[in-house]
Symmetry: C2
DNA sequence: GGTTCATTCATACGTTCGTTTCAATCGAAC
DNA sequence: GTTCGATTGAAACGAACGTATGAATGAACC
């Protein structure tokens, strides 16, 4: 809480606004206003709006990726064949951990991730590094061993399902305050529900073709 | 294929572009150019860009909603207690049916739906009518009977999971041509995989608290 | 005290956006 | 043939956008 430097204040503001209004819905001026910085500061510190988004995305994704990787390492150190539940927990768990200060229990991070992933803007997709692919490939191999008989295509579909469930649940809550359905659910229970839901889904027998 | 009137040509073009580039990423000029219409035609026929989006969304969602409703009616006419599989199929199935001509097997419709649902723009959320809530409430009740012991909150979470899986799978494919993971999966198999995945997920025992 | 370098500031540029305006056009009714 | 309502056309408006520019600032170092 000392004197936060302009660069991280811009990152914080951009993370907040990108999560809430999307990339295209957030103007550079809105970011700098919220950050209490000058308009030109974005150009100076990041080069462009797209590079600012890449920096925000990296800062959010990297710890998640590291946690996923560490979780798999921990499992594989114990046994060469972790269970589906363990794999689901190690993979999906970090997606629920909003470790960043000021994040409302990870909800803001989730919103940001889905905003980035589902934004059709090209800039939103240029930040991905090889790390994300690597960790996903490792989990893919581990799941393949835990789920013999499942075709690679269906396995890939199911892993996409994990990302979908973990990423979108809070978003729809956030943007659909309809009282009839989809009322917001706070707290840690979401994480447990997701683990239950996804473990059962991943463990389903292969679709007979 | 006779002489398509300007209004529907604009609707078609807008549906295509909104699905591909999102609401904010699509300019009115791009829509009218693709439709071969004049820029002012949008204002004349729809009033504004936001109302054009609402019209597009209504045209896409309404048949899906009707199919979901008819499917539930058909099930309930046979038995008062349909199985989880039947409910999942009746609810999620229509989300995969791209009945509109020109749609690439429903993929474009899926993209449009998730684009609309995940767009943080306020305009993207103003089209919902009471019908969507009604059909969801009916399925909610049917699932509650099929899954006794599940708390209403967790049931709602799982229904959100259905929407997440059906909505997002093709989107991430669409926007992530990474060769490492998540390669596109075409055809009808996606629908079967989703039914398998979601039936198992919905049938999971309640999360012990 | 003067120089240097990184950073911040106010401001402007050029573009694109959604919307509006008003004249032109067309077919049908009289 | 004229009138009239509906539709289309070309053009323009004001606002907001991302970005670039060059001067001001301020602390660190000689």
């Amino acid at each position: 809480m000392a004197q936060p430097d302009t660069r991280t204040q811009i990152l914080d503001a951009a993370e907040h606004l990108f999560a809430e209004r999307g990339y295209r819905g957030t103007s550079v001026r809105a970011v700098t206003d919220l950050a209490g910085a000058n308009l030109a500061a974005v150009g100076y510190h990041f080069g462009s709006k797209a590079e600012l988004l890449a920096a925000v995305a990296r800062r959010v994704i990297e710890p998640i990726n590291a946690a996923q990787c560490a979780g798999l390492d921990r499992l594989l150190a114990r046994t060469p064949d972790p269970s589906v539940t363990e794999l689901v927990e190690a993979f999906a768990g970090p997606l629920f951990d909003g470790t960043r200060a000021g994040d409302e229990g990870g909800a803001r991070t989730s919103r940001l991730i889905v905003t980035i992933l589902s934004d059709p803007a090209e800039e939103a997709r240029s930040w991905t590094g090889p790390d994300e692919d690597t960790v996903r490939e490792r989990y893919l191999a581990a799941f393949a061993r835990a789920l013999p008989g499942l075709s690679p295509e269906e396995l890939r579909f199911r892993m996409r399902g994990i990302l979908a469930v973990t990423a979108i649940d809070r978003v729809e809550v956030y943007q659909q305050p309809s009282p009839a359905c989809l009322t917001p659910v706070a707290g840690e229970s979401t994480r447990h529900w997701a683990i239950t839901f996804l473990t059962a889904a991943m463990s389903a027998p292969p679709t007979r073709t």
